[in-house]
């Protein structure tokens, strides 16, 4: 059995770990609220842009002459997987879930004979280098970002679109974790290039039947809005990721705090037993010593 001193040291060490995990949980909870607010504040723009895209979609037919972002490159060979993760660890399975989703997609694409390239956005996505060391297209530095701003999403988008125009890839998928609640974050992947136009059901009716005038014209507006649409999707993903990360960390740290509590309880029992055993032994020694003198 461990000595009393060793047990005491161990209990103290677990106690200080518990203090840290508890503090991290509370920080994550505060940051989660902020991240959720940011995600909600970003919703109106995304909604309106989608509505505009939908009503444009009904006016424009996709053809060879359409913008490449819409019509595609005409090929389906090279796939770019954009893996958006967080900058920090200790967030439960958050990052590994995203990376796993991306790897699964990469495997199924490679099995279908496609070429896969990986675009890393976020430090914790770098583990994917181990599996695809020669297929990393770019590792986007995000370490300086404290709260995601649209400009950050724009920087990624501009880079990706430049690569697309240069013919580096044909299809792009974006991987991130969708925030459902502090307990549930679902890793998802979806195609962002070529842009899938939203289905258009009721947009013309809501205009009261009046003909909409386009300045300059439908095609130019669409060409102008397509990159913006991708940027807003990436921005939305980064915001969801930020919220998911904090939610996941909160849950993970809550579990860790609880585990530490259990551990302290167990070690304390062990410590007390050892202490009592020592006292009993001492008493027995004293008593038998006294008996011997009689």
């Amino acid at each position: 059995m461990a000595s009393l001193k060793a047990l005491k040291i161990r209990i103290n060490s677990v106690k200080s770990t518990q203090k840290i995990t508890k503090a991290m949980k509370m920080v994550a909870a505060a940051k989660l609220r902020r991240a959720q607010e940011a995600a909600i504040a970003a919703r109106p723009y995304a909604l309106r842009l989608e509505r505009v895209m939908a009503s444009l979609a009904s006016k424009v037919t996709v053809s060879e002459s359409s913008p490449k972002l819409l019509a595609g490159t005409g090929k389906d060979q090279v796939h770019l997987l954009i893996v958006a993760t967080s900058e920090r660890g200790l967030a439960g399975a958050f990052n590994s879930n995203i990376v796993r989703a991306a790897r699964k997609k990469a495997e199924s694409l490679e099995a279908a004979g496609k070429t896969v390239k990986i675009y890393i956005a976020g430090k914790k996505g770098r583990v994917i280098r181990r599996f695809y060391p020669s297929q990393i297209a770019h590792d986007h530095e995000m370490g300086h970002i404290k709260y995601v701003a649209f400009a950050d999403a724009k920087a990624i988008t501009d880079d990706i679109i430049a690569r697309y125009e240069a013919g580096e890839f044909d299809v792009a998928h974006l991987f991130y974790a969708r925030f459902q609640s502090a307990l549930v974050q679902e890793p998802i992947g979806r195609q962002i290039i070529p842009v899938a136009l939203p289905a258009n059901d009721d947009a013309p009716v809501s205009d009261g039947g009046a003909a909409v005038e386009y300045e300059p014209d439908e095609e130019s507006i669409l060409a102008d809005l397509l990159p913006r649409n991708i940027a807003i999707q990436i921005f939305g993903a980064l915001l969801e990721n930020a919220a998911s990360e904090q939610g996941s960390r909160m849950t993970a740290m809550d579990n860790a705090t609880r585990n530490a509590g259990d551990m302290i309880k167990r070690l304390s029992t062990q410590y007390n037993r050892a202490r009592q055993a020592a006292i009993t032994t001492e008493l027995v020694e004293i008593i038998s010593g006294a008996e011997a003198l009689k």
Binding site: A38, A41, A42, P44, Y45, A46, R48, L49, V52, S55, L56, A149, F150, A153, K154, S206, D207, G208, A210, A211, V212, E213, Y214, E215, P216, S220, I221, D224, L225, R228, A231, I232, F235
Partner: protein, 83 residues
């Protein structure tokens, strides 16, 4: 009154009733009053002029990377940056 909304990706900046808004469209400035015909237009980087009431001194809001939509419910300006 005209319902005017100014939205950036980060948040909804304005949502208010105003008299008139002058929008710097790519093909020229245009003023939007209540009951304007539906229009979709890209905006060049510059200032939107917001007239709270008729004859009031306009308020200028600098926007970049913008897009304007006028429909039955009013004017919506989507801008990458504003303010």
């Amino acid at each position: 009154m005209l319902h005017f909304e100014l939205v950036t990706p980060e948040k909804l900046i304005r949502s208010e009733e105003v008299y008139m808004v002058v929008v710097p469209g790519t093909e020229g400035d245009f003023g939007v009053l209540e009951g304007h015909a539906p229009v979709m237009s890209t905006i060049r980087d510059g200032a939107i002029e917001v007239y709270a009431t008729q004859g009031a001194v306009p308020e200028h809001i600098i926007v970049s990377g913008g897009f304007a939509e006028v429909n039955a419910s009013g004017l919506t300006v989507l801008a990458e940056q504003a303010g």
